[in-house]
Amino acid sequence: MTDPTTSFLTHRRLVGLAVAAQMLFILAVAGAGYATTALGRTITLRTTPVDPRDLLYGDYLRLNYTISQVQPALWRGPEPPQKHQAVYVLLQPTNGAYEAAGVYATEPPAAPDQAVLRGWVTDSWRQGIRLRYNLERYYVPENSGAALEKAGARRPLLVRVSVAPWGQARITQVGEVRK
């Protein structure tokens, strides 16, 4: 454990530095969460219940979006989409929520009213492309699960997602459709 490095960089100081760096990193992850909400733009997605009888799995809600499955005609890549491929989905506002306007293999340019969400192809066949955004699980805040479950069983829910300019995204709110 005796390191013949310079007197400043003792083993103890180096360990301290390494641990401090790890703590800072965790704080930075938390900071990224706040920054995504503060600096990102909010888009609203429509989601349908996966299974109304059993919407809640433990402490999270399983969400299935209207953009989770898209028409193959929306595919804009040079080659057919492959399983596990990372893709960019161009979203356009229609009737109060964002819907997919195109699925790209590389990041597409977006008009001011459009947004780009990153995702992965989980399956692709002749009638559709199934996509995963890692937004499919919503970790439910205390006591709001039951109400959401009831609401989700009746009609689609609206999900607010913050998308940061650097592409990071997070769910900020899940709620009922307000008429």
Binding site: H11, Q22, L27, V29, R118, N134, L135, Y139, Q168, T172
Partner: protein, 405 residues
């Protein structure tokens, strides 16, 4: 002479008057107790503790306010590291390293739980890369085998998650494993760590091949590069540790080729572009042979028999038979070398490989060959001849070495 032998047989020797009780004590003092098995316990302990802490907190997680959750994550991690330092200073290596390992596990949990807390989506493995990096840094700081093994496992998990869930191969993780852990192993050679390092590298190489949708035979370029690194390592047991996983992979692959290679559809799936593949393989072979020559181990060049690219042969029985011949030649060479080195463990290994090969040959040829009897006659004669030859040599070698110090 081992301590175990002294402990079990010693009392008998004392009773028979061969040695006195004092001499037995003196002999025992010559072979201090090793803590090999105990060394693994802190690793297991830290993993279990980490899991239990995780499940307790996870059960009440949602009920806690955000700041408390963050504080809990940071506090438990910092506490584990501080505890580790405390016990290491008091020369309690096992517990100290276990706690440092726990700190590293908690760091990973911290990253995952914090991103979950903010519903953040991981589009790449950046967050988890920090975990591998922290493990590598701590391995160097503490010069600990426990942390080395833990970091190799974390690297494998992160790479698996990255390719499986995020659809991208993390070259940074691979580079950290190669340069970070590889350099550590090179400077502090160790058989077990060699085994762990090679397994981690092979796992990641396999994931890369899968990710690139390349022919699986390309796997053997990085695998044999790992093997070649062992050829340059001056420490023999450490080199053997590193070379075992690539050789095991090559042997199993060749065994599979002997079984299924006959169908050209299967062999066809294995054929990468000839010039590129053979060129790369020859390059690795040259690196390996140069290392063997440098360290005076050219005898082990027979290992490369397993890499003969027989799958370029056009299907049919010829391929199966050729592969079987290669397998026999390889297991024979293992036996022969084991004998040269008087290495009992390797005699066992060679025998096992020989029997495995014979079993595959049996399955293969009872289906395909009509005159299998001739082949088995030859195989049986070979096996009997070899066993007779080995036994005779063994007896002779042992009698020559009788007055061993």
């Amino acid at each position: 002479m081992s301590r175990k032998l002294l402990e079990t047989e010693g009392p008998k020797w004392v009773a028979q008057g061969i040695i006195t009780p004092q001499q037995r004590e003196q002999l025992l003092a010559l072979y201090p107790e090793e803590e090999r098995v105990v060394g693994l316990l802190p690793l297991l302990g830290s993993l279990l503790l980490g899991l239990s802490a995780l499940s307790v907190v996870a059960a009440n997680w949602q009920g806690l306010p955000e700041w408390l959750r963050l504080l809990l994550l940071l506090g438990s991690m910092g506490g584990a590291y501080a505890g580790g330092e405390y016990f290491l200073r008091r020369r309690n290596e096992a517990l100290g390293m276990g706690l440092v390992g726990l700190g590293l596990v908690l760091f990973g949990c911290g990253i995952i739980l914090t991103s979950q807390l903010y519903q953040l989506i991981g589009y790449d493995a950046t967050g988890l890369l920090a975990w591998v990096l922290a493990g590598t840094v701590l391995t160097y700081l503490y010069r600990s085998r426990t942390l080395f093994i833990l970091t190799a496992c974390i690297g494998g998990i992160v790479q698996g998650y990255s390719t499986g869930q995020l659809g991208s191969f993390s070259y940074f993780t691979a580079a950290l494993t190669v340069w970070g852990l590889g350099y550590y192993w090179w400077r502090r050679p160790d058989g077990l760590l060699g085994l762990v390092l090679a397994s981690s590298l092979l796992w990641q190489a396999g994931l890369l091949i899968g990710h690139l949708h390349a022919k699986i035979t390309w796997f053997f370029i990085p695998a044999m590069l790992t093997y070649a690194l062992g050829d340059w390592q001056p420490d023999r047991p450490a080199a053997r540790g590193l070379q075992t996983p690539p050789l095991a992979a090559a042997f199993l692959f060749t065994l599979g080729l002997a079984l299924y290679g006959e169908a050209d559809t299967y062999a066809g799936m294995l054929r990468p572009p000839f010039l590129a593949y053979i060129g790369a393989l020859l390059l690795v072979l040259a690196i390996s042979l140069a290392g063997k020559y440098r360290r005076g181990r050219l005898g082990s060049a027979t290992d490369w028999l397993l890499l003969l690219p027989g799958f370029y042969l056009h299907g049919g029985l010829a391929l199966a038979v050729a592969t079987l011949v290669v397998l026999y030649a390889y297991s024979g060479s293992v036996l022969w070398r084991a004998h040269q080195e008087n290495n009992a463990d390797r005699v066992t290994l060679g025998t096992v490989l020989f029997i495995l090969t014979t079993m595959v040959a049996y399955f293969k040829l009872t289906w395909a060959f009509m005159d299998k009897s001739l082949f088995f006659l030859l195989g049986g004669a070979l096996l009997l001849g070899l066993s007779w030859f080995l036994r005779r040599r063994n007896a002779r070698a042992l009698s020559a070495k009788q007055p061993q110090p």
